[in-house]
Symmetry: none
Subunit: 203 residues, 2 copies
DNA sequence: TACGCTATATATAATAT
DNA sequence: TATATTATATATAGCGT
């Protein structure tokens, strides 16, 4: 159960190399996501496998990857600034805007889906087996974060006996622990994408 | 000298954020290099700063980044389509597809939001007063549909005495009534928006 | 602002199942 | 071969200089 150090050259053993590739790929994508979220910047990573037809990449939306890459190419080329607003450029901008919005909404959508799925699982309406494999990683991370929050709350309660207990029948306190993402979702500009329909739907 | 955990949203403090960005950028580039060397695969990462003209990237040679990126685009279906169609036609189609997809996802997003809100209200975590006025119409219709389904279930039960009663303590059956939309949501192609890493955005 | 230090969180190689 | 479980290496937040 030890762990050697040293990282200088190709791992010769094929099995180990593949295992390492898998683990590190996930780690790298996670790190990419993290820096992007924490520091609020564009970031992307592309990782090939020895045989994979399609490489792993983050962001998972290819449109988003293309947006970032194009930005990179644009910024790293000399004298690209004098583009004129001809038809093509206009269309490109439209594409980009659409894709940006799409990517943002996809992320929100994904979070909402996870929220619902987790709620269902907790209520026994669904089981983990029904969660698409590709979503498990993301979901597990969400759950781990929640566990942390719950644990923090419990330990804080131990240290600070005056405050409310971490769990009680009052829904307010408990739900702060379990539904943190939900409150985030419902709070801010979540409704932005939808409100265009209101005029027609009012009854 | 402690170190907080939690990595879920933007670091608000500007100084910390920049520090984190710097450290993590180096870390990410290092990880990128490592996986590339250890596992003998192509990999690249591009990280922007809030203001940087030229983003950080690995490999450091821009030509190499280009090579890897082009390879990525070449392997993707979108990249192949891009070559077949002339630029403008492609862009127009992309705009249209993006917007169609956007619209579809917005609808789904809305449904998911309503789902969450209704769940919260039923669980006493929220009240109707907190629902944005403009959403009430939509929500009322959703609820009416559920009522219909519940009523159907009740009358069917009357006609067909052998089947299960419409309400009982077994959570499975009861939840079928109350969470019909949920099961619809989670069932079919809900995840399509996310799996695009594998099959690309084309449908 | 940038750099160094240290405690802690995280990633991951080795191993077991 | 895949997945789970450690033990350890590595990354990095918070703080001081």
């Amino acid at each position: 159960m030890s762990r050697k150090n040293v990282k200088s050259s190709i791992i010769k053993d094929v099995t180990s190399r593949k295992a390492s590739h898998k683990t590190r790929s996930l780690g790298l994508l996670k790190k990419t996501q993290e820096i992007s979220v924490l520091c609020d910047v564009d970031a992307c990573a592309i990782i090939y496998g020895e045989d994979d037809q399609v490489p792993l990449a983050w962001p998972s939306s290819e449109a988003e990857v293309r947006r970032i890459i194009n930005n990179y190419k644009g910024k790293s080329q000399v004298g690209q600034l004098e583009r004129q607003l001809d038809q093509q450029t206009f269309l490109k901008q439209t594409v980009q805007k659409s894709e940006e919005k799409l990517a943002r909404i996809q992320v929100k959508n994904r979070e909402l889906q996870m929220e619902n799925i987790i709620t269902d699982i907790m209520a026994g309406r669904s089981t983990l087996e029904q969660v698409p494999f590709c979503d498990l990683g993301y979901m597990i991370r969400m759950l781990k974060e929640r566990m942390k929050l719950v644990k923090n709350r419990i330990s804080n309660w131990g240290n600070n006996i005056n405050s409310n207990p971490p769990f009680q029948n009052s829904s307010a306190s408990r739900d702060d622990n379990l539904k943190i993402n939900s409150s985030l979702f419902h709070g801010d500009g979540m409704m932005e994408a939808i409100t265009s329909r209101n005029n027609h739907t009012s009854e």
